[in-house]
């Protein structure tokens, strides 16, 4: 670890009576990816807007590469790349023209064309780069948008819900792209609603809820905190009386069938649950073994993890 590139201390943001961020502290080590998880309205975008100089906080200290976002905004701006929830592109220009425009605005001059061409080749955008952005699919726009945020070779890249609304294929392409960037030494701050996304990309995760950080850790640590697998079985209601132990939840489906749920510590224990159902001679009509979702993380954190 070569020190923190992003430092946030006691950050407060208020919108009227609403406390959007209430005392957030975090550091992002150089060359790592921080995943910021949270539901809609948790404060993820507000955090990104403060970090990218778009929003003035009510209180707190925020610095990027040692430069304060309030007093040295232009130094910060020359070091960051931002991809927001809406692709920040001109729909009437082609992808290439958009990239060249941003290149010219950050002072690349004639080199803007070369940088755009390099990025188009590197991000494999050749087949879409000369189409107008307005005619592109959401996934293509996002890729051009990310290329636009990379024109200035930023040391910190902010991605605000970069895959929201993308299909699984486009999402996968984007994940590979971000993984490549961090390999090259870029520090990334990523907000997402998807645990899977944070799991895939982030070295560290923080969980925001109602403007507060309710948890932080590596993906593995967070999952351990939440617990193991949930086994959900659909069985004949008539079979239920043969069950030798009580499920965590029982729901009648059609009257003839019921759904029973067991919370288990890990995959091994989940397997034991299934074996025990067979031992009790219960016919399993349908079976689902699920890992904890972000909802589970929140359920866990808001009931037990209020004071992490």
């Amino acid at each position: 670890m070569t020190g923190a590139t992003v430092r946030v201390a006691d950050l407060h943001v208020r919108f009227g009576d609403v406390q959007a961020l209430a005392g957030v502290d975090l550091d992002v080590a150089t060359g790592t990816t921080l995943g910021v998880l949270g539901h809609n309205g948790a404060g993820k975008t507000t955090l990104i807007r403060v970090l990218t100089t778009l929003l003035r906080p009510a209180a707190g200290r925020v610095s990027i590469d040692g430069f304060d976002v309030l007093t040295d905004a232009d130094h910060v701006r020359s070091r960051i790349g931002v991809t927001g929830q809406y692709a920040g592109l001109d729909e009437f220009l082609t992808g290439r023209e958009n990239l060249e425009l941003i290149g010219e605005l950050i002072g690349l001059g004639r080199a803007a064309r070369h940088r755009a061409r390099d990025l188009i080749a590197r991000l494999d955008l050749g087949n879409i780069a000369d189409r107008r952005v307005g005619t592109m699919s959401g996934g293509s726009r996002r890729r051009i948008d990310i290329a636009a945020s990379l024109i200035g070779e930023p040391s910190v890249l902010f991605l605000d819900e970069p895959t929201t609304g993308l299909d699984p294929l486009a999402r996968g392409v984007l994940w590979d792209l971000v993984a490549d960037l961090t390999k090259g030494g870029t520090t990334v701050v990523l907000t997402t609603q998807y645990l899977e996304e944070a799991d895939r990309l982030a070295d560290d995760i923080v969980v925001l809820d109602h403007g507060r950080l309710v948890a932080r850790g590596t993906p593995a640590e967070l999952k351990r905190m939440v617990g193991g697998k949930v086994v959900t079985a659909t069985v004949a209601t008539a079979d239920l009386r043969r069950l030798s132990w009580q499920p965590d939840e029982t729901r009648s489906l059609t009257g003839e069938t019921s759904r029973i749920e067991f919370a288990t510590a890990d995959a091994d224990e989940a397997g034991a649950v299934v074996t025990r159902l067979r031992t009790d001679d219960i016919a399993i009509i349908d079976l689902d073994i699920a890992s904890p979702t972000l909802d589970d993380v929140f359920a866990h954190l808001t009931t037990q993890g209020a004071n992490p």
Partner: protein
């Protein structure tokens, strides 16, 4: 208690020192505005084609106005109407600036610009210069159309120059006004509608289509201060070759006052 973090002494290169000058940024954004405007048919229609259609229609439908007692003697209706259409079309096209600014807000481009080391006013200035350029193009098209309908210019080269300066000043103040509306309302459809509501009184509570003497007293007062009236009057003098410094000054002053008033309003959310 926002206390800035003490700046770490850093060996990092100061990127802002080799950043773009504001002049180059303005040039890049102007190129973008020109491209964009040329690629959006509805904007081009509103800016260039519709004023021509209005000139054509009005010159036929309302030419009876020239028979009224208050109408300036010895002037043909097309000579009266053409300067007015030049001024009014500038107001109409100004609404495009508001829509363009709102589009930048909805598609996130305006946020992207704000995360670059660039003065916040540059995109608005680029849109205004773009609109000024289109104002010159529109004037050429309108005058050519008017010439077919019998319009005759009786002024000299100086009248052309002062007339264009007055018209461009009006374009600047209207761009600033509608740009601010776009920055505040932020949704293209809402801005389009609000633009119409603002545009109407500028167009009609003015000396553009009817002499001020024909209006009720209160309206005459408002119309007198309307930059569109001042511009239309100055252009009519230019067309007749009777330009006076006072009329030119009044037109520039009205447009300048309008601009100053708009610029005094903050650009929007922090």
């Amino acid at each position: 208690m926002t206390t800035p973090l003490t700046q770490r002494s850093t060996p990092n290169v100061d990127f802002s020192s080799n950043g773009a000058s504001s002049r180059k940024q303005l040039g890049a954004l102007l190129k973008r505005s020109l491209r964009t405007t040329a690629r959006v048919p509805q904007m081009l229609m509103f800016s260039l084609t519709m004023p021509m259609a209005m000139l054509l229609l009005f010159s036929q439908v309302f030419r009876g106005v020239s028979d009224s007692a208050q109408f300036p003697r010895g002037m043909s209706y097309i000579d009266y109407l053409t300067p007015a259409m030049l001024a009014v079309a500038t107001v109409m096209a100004g609404t495009n600036v508001g829509v363009a600014s709102a589009i930048d807000h909805t598609n996130g481009l305006s946020d992207r610009f704000r995360t670059l080391a660039m003065p916040r006013s540059i995109p608005g200035i680029a849109r205004t210069i773009n609109e000024m350029i289109f104002t010159v193009a529109r004037a050429a098209l309108l005058i050519a159309t008017a010439a077919v309908l019998g319009f005759r210019f009786r002024g000299d080269g100086l009248d052309i120059v002062t007339g264009m300066i007055v018209l461009i000043a009006l374009a600047g103040s209207m761009s600033a006004l509608f740009g601010r509306i776009g920055d505040h309302l932020r949704r293209p459809d809402v801005v389009q509608f609000a633009g119409m509501m603002v545009m109407m009184p500028f167009m009609f509570v003015s000396s553009a289509f009817a002499p001020l003497d024909t209006m009720p007293g209160w309206m005459r007062t408002v119309a007198n201060g309307n930059p569109v009236s001042r511009t239309a009057d100055a252009l009519r003098e230019a067309v007749a070759g009777t330009t006076t410094a006072g009329t030119i000054a009044a037109a520039l002053l009205a447009a300048g006052a309008m601009w100053a008033l708009v610029v005094a309003i903050p650009a929007g959310r922090p």
